[in-house]
Every structure is written in C-alpha cells, then in structure tokens.
Amino acid sequence: MAEMNLIGALNNAIRLEMRRNPSTVVMGEDIAKLGGVFRVTTGLLDEFGPERVIDTPLSEGGIIGTAIGLALYGVRPIVEIQFSDFIYPGYDQIVNELAKYRYRSGGQYSCPLVIRTPSGGGIKGGHYHSQSPESYFIHTPGLKVVMPSDPYDAKGLFLSSVRDADPVIFFEPKRIYRAAKGDVPEEDYTIPLGEAKVRRAGDQVTLLTYGAMVVESLEAAEQANQQGIEVEVVDLRTLLPLDIEAVLSSVKKTGRAVIVHEAPKTCGFGAELSALIMEKAFPYLEAPVTRVTGFDTPFPYALEHDYLPSPARILKGIDYVMHY
C-alpha cells in the first residue's frame, strides 16, 4: 500500500498493464517525453521505449483512427486525448467506427482499446479545458463509459477497462487529479465495470453522482447531516453499463433522489438516470427526482464556480426533495 493521488494511481496502473501485456502501447500528444500535460504517463517512455510510448502528431482523428487499426490487428492501444474537449476531431471515428465495428461485422471483429481523457471543470480552463462530454458517449451504443472518483477506483477500473473486450472511454476528473489521495495497493487488482459504490450510507435521500462531483456531493451530505438529513451518496463509477441495481436499491430505500453532474442539464446523463428511476421505481418516489448540474451554457471561464454544482446547490436539491 502506498498513498497515491489519482495521477499516481493511473500511472501505476498503466505501468503494471504495460509490464503484463507486451501488446499494449500508449499513444497521444505530449505523452512520451513530457509524460503528458498532467504527467499521468511520466516515466513510461524510459521504461518501455519509444515503440510503445508514442508521441503522435497533433491530430485526435489520426490518433483514434489509427488506434482502431492497431486494435484490429492485436495491439492494445491506451490512447490519451489531452483534454476531453479535444476529442471531437476524432468523434466520427469513435461513434461511426469504434463503437460499431463489432456489431457491423457480426461479431467477427472487435476494437478493444481505452481512450483516457481528463474531463470536467474546476481548473479555470474555460470552454475548452473543462467540458464534460460523457453523455455523447453514453448515447452511443457500443461504447463503455467509466469515470472514477478516487485513486483506488481509478487503478482498479483502469485495469478492468484496458482488459475489457470492448472499447472504453475512460474519463478522468482532472479537478481532483492531485487532490484525491488514498491508499492504493502496488499490486495488480481490478474493479469490475458496471458496479457502483456507496460512498456514504443514508436512508433519507440518494445522491447519484460520479467523478469530481462525488467530492462536492459528500460535502453536501455532510452539511445535510448537520441538519439531521441522512444522505446516501452513490458513486456510479461506470456510467455505461450502469449499475441499475445499486441505483434502484438506494432510491427504493430513500424514496428521494438528487442527481449531480457537471455536464449541461439538457440531455445530460442525469436525464437518463431520472427517466430510469421514473420507469423502475415510480411507486417508491416521495418526491420528483431532481437534477443539480452544469447549466445549459458553454462552460464559462470567470464564473466557473457559479456554473459548477456546489455543495450549496446540491443542498438546495436535497432540501427540495425533502420538503416536497
């Protein structure tokens, strides 16, 4: 066991997998010599050499497009997209190619690979270093979507993702890259995709969240607790496939749910969660499921902390469902 932050845990996980599986390569912009702009791939070039740790041209379409070809022929690419805001030049390759390759070939081909990409706000990054585009990918059949919120999970989920038979979009909440710290075993372990984790138990309100918003939600739960409200915080961890049982069992217990995410509200993942709860737990609901999310604006620079869900805004949501 060692204390690691998210960056360290991910670095450790990638390193372990590259040692274990000689078919893995790491590719992306500035990931080799620099070790990534967030240093997640630090030291890999030295250990694994330039054939396996590859600085690419500045082209997300090229990175993702060639990664598909690499995966088709048995290389396992670990792709870094420097910021998830820059994933869109590769969007066609993701939604029309990567996501559909297995299906369209009748299961004869597959493109297992991981696209790691920092997402979310909170670092004063403005429009283009803060977006939370997970909903675009969750709406795209054929992809799995993961977002850890602490170092232990990050490592275990990454190792599952990189060994999964399907393509995984692995979002890393950059806001807590360094802030999230915890004990992480040095050795290999995996956390299965599709399993949520109850971060805090409670029986009056369920908070459904993921990524950096887990931290804000726990803070809000703590404050609610001071007011005598027992909040359960469910960290979804894998967004697709969703751990529907964990969601439902919590909501059926509490009868009240607040969903928290950074992405814009309209057609965000919160909408899906709300609809699912409606469909599967309607008779249990004491109050309408409520969303506390980023606003339906582009991500702002100066006012980012007003844009992002804060404990205060989450508390408002809790308050609303409690006093409905």
Partner: protein, 372 residues
C-alpha cells in the same frame, strides 16, 4: 523582390505508368513476370466481378435486393493491386472493390447472403449491401462514411510494424475521399511513422455527381504524397498489369521499411454511383464514350490474345462457368431466412448488458404476442 513561391508547375506532370497499349500489345521490358495461370486468374476475376455486378444490379432493378453498388470499369484497379499482395496482407476497402475480395477467394454465396442481409451472412445482416467483412481473408469490415478506413489501414500497418511482421496493409478509396480530414491524418501518420501501408486511390473522376475539379485544385492526386513525405505514383487504372506493377513496387518498399505509397489509378466510374443514382442528371453519355474504348477487360483480353493465351472457346467456356457459379450462388444465397430477431441485440458488446437484455426480452415478448 524574389520570393520563391511553389506552384503546381514545379513538379513535372507525371504520365501515368502503363504496361499495355490499347491494342493489347505491351512493352516487354515493363511486363510483370506472371504465369499464364496468373494471367488467366486475373482475367477471370475481372470477368467474374463484371458479371456479378451486372447480375446483382439487375436484381436490384427488379426489386429483389434493396441496393447495390458496382465497380463497372474499375475492375483492373482493385484486382490488379490485391493480386500484387500476399494473402496475409490486409485489405481495407471502400465499397466499390468487390474484385479485391474475389481475388482473395471470398465465397460467392457469402457475398450474396450479405447482399440479402439474411442469416447466411456471416455479418448477420447488419449492414447495407456491399458492406461485407472477412477476418479470415484479412478484409476489414466495410463502412459507408467516406475515408474512415484510411486511418485504420495505417494503424493496422503500424501494428504489423510493432509486431515485427512484414505484413502490408492496402486501403482503397475514391478521389472524393481525398477531401476528407481522414485522408490527411492517415497519410500524415504513415509518413511520420514510416508505416507499411499502401493508399490506393481509384481516381474515377466522379464522387456521385461531383467531378474531380471540385475535389482538389492540385495538379493530380499523386502529388499529394509530397505533403506527407511518402511516395506518390500515377498509374493507368485500366491497365491491370500496370496496376499490378506499381502495387508490387509499393509493397516491396513497404516491406523493406521504406514507408507508405499513395497510388493514383486513373480510371472512370462507368456506371451509376449506386443503384440509387441516376447519372443522367449530371453527366452526359458522351463523356463516357472515350472511356468505353478503354475498357479494362477488353484491353486485357487483347493482351491475352496477343500473348496467345486467349481464344473464343476459352471465353465462351469462361462465361458459361461464371454464369453457372453466379446462378448457383444466388439461388443458394437467396434461400436463407432472415436473421433471427434476437440477433439484433448481439455484438453491441462482447456480452449483453442488462439494458440490452431488457430490450431484447421486450421485443421477443412483443413478437410472441403478435404471433398469437
């Protein structure tokens, strides 16, 4: 002021490489070393491709199949080039290169089943006609979006390089695809990483209704190789032997670690873009007249005759055999039932997640009720 401005004229216009004259004679110094069997195989594959296209397009016109795309007039491009490769080399086609699959021995019945999208289709009826896949033949899974296969071919070649194999990847596309960003990034990665990949552009002059002049103002397609530090070459796309030769050379370079080649094969799309298209709306019959004289099959036939390995009896026999093969494949292929309903939910992922399982059960229940 003397500013050095590059312009088209700086690169000498390249005359497309050719081996055969229009009358079927050839410059013996340029001829490839191919046996009579090889030459016959090439010819027979071209004829098979033509007959199959012809037959299936007619079936589409009769309403028996939903859609079809032919390679009419372009058979020499993909047949000559795939034949120049090893069977272990990868092929990433667009949608017009049936002949490439035929060179590899793609079973006609399987092809027909794919056209019908029935349960005999190894890809489970998931895609439109002409969008097959064959891992056993190292043919990728075809996709409709123009140009997306180019980065895949580059990546696949990259994988071969990483594995230390001498495998080459070839990808086919039309000149329209050169306008896409994917063309650029694929060639660029191939240059930077010196990948063993061949970019084979069938410059057939049309992208549906849009002529070459609306795709690029460059002097030609091959010159674009300069932008990536890779080799570029122009070839007469209606000369199957010339296509064979330039592709062999590109494959040799690739295997020798000399990197990628962009091949521009000049030809003409003689048919409609697809069965949905009506070319009369945008081009004149007379535009094609000249090209009809250059038909790649007729030209190759004259060559074979000049070589003394073609006569009427051979031709008649060949055509008959092919007709029978096609008829058999169609009747067999047509006989398969549609794919089973539950197959809709397979292969989205390696295993079926709960939400798809739920949707599967819902649909099956509905079907069951409908039956009652």
């Amino acid at each position: 002021m003397t500013v050095k401005v590059f312009q088209e004229k700086d690169v000498e216009a390249a005359v497309p490489f050719r081996v055969m004259e229009d009358d079927g004679t050839a410059d013996t110094r340029l001829e490839p070393e191919l046996s009579s069997e090889d030459l016959h195989f090439l010819y027979e594959t071209m004829v098979l491709n033509r007959e199959l296209d012809d037959r299936l397009l007619r079936m589409q016109r009769q309403g028996r199949i939903g859609f079809y795309l032919t390679g009419l007039g372009e058979e020499a491009t993909h047949i000559g080039s795939t034949f120049a490769l090893e069977p272990t080399d990868w092929v990433f086609p667009a949608y017009r290169e049936l002949g490439a699959a035929l060179v590899r021995g793609f079973p006609l019945v399987e092809f027909v089943c794919q056209i019908f999208g029935n349960s005999g289709d190894i890809t489970k009826g998931r895609q439109m006609p002409n969008h097959y896949a064959s891992p056993s033949l190292r043919i990728s899974s075809l996709s409709s979006p123009v140009g997306t296969q180019l980065p895949h071919a580059a990546g696949c070649a990259w994988a071969a390089k990483i594995k230390g194999e001498k495998t080459v990847a070839i990808t086919y596309f039309g000149e329209g695809a050169t306008s896409q960003g994917d063309f650029h990034v694929a060639l660029n990665f191939s240059g930077v990483f010196k990948l063993p990949v061949i970019f084979f552009c069938r410059n057939n002059l049309w992208a549906i209704s849009v002529p070459l002049s609306r795709q690029t103002a460059s002097r030609d397609i091959a010159v674009k190789a300069q932008a990536y530090g890779i080799a570029g070459v122009r070839v007469d796309g209606n000369d199957v032997l010339a296509v064979y030769q330039v592709t062999r050379e590109a494959a040799r370079r690739a295997r020798a670690g000399e990197g990628a080649t962009l091949i521009e094969a000049i030809t003409c799309r003689m048919g409609p873009h697809s069965s949905s298209d009506d070319p009369r709306l945008y081009r004149e019959e007379k535009d094609l007249e000249e090209w009809r004289q250059k038909d790649p099959i007729a030209r190759f036939q004259r060559y074979l005759r000049w070589k003394g390995i073609w006569d009427e009896a051979y031709e008649k026999n060949l055509r008959e055999k092919i007709q029978i093969r096609i008829a058999e494949a169609i009747s067999k292929g047509e006989s398969f039932p549609p794919p089973p309903l539950e197959s809709l939910f397979e292969d989205v992922y390696s295993t079926v997640p709960w939400h798809l399982e739920e949707q599967r059960l819902e649909l099956l229940a509905l079907r069951k009720e409908a039956k009652h």
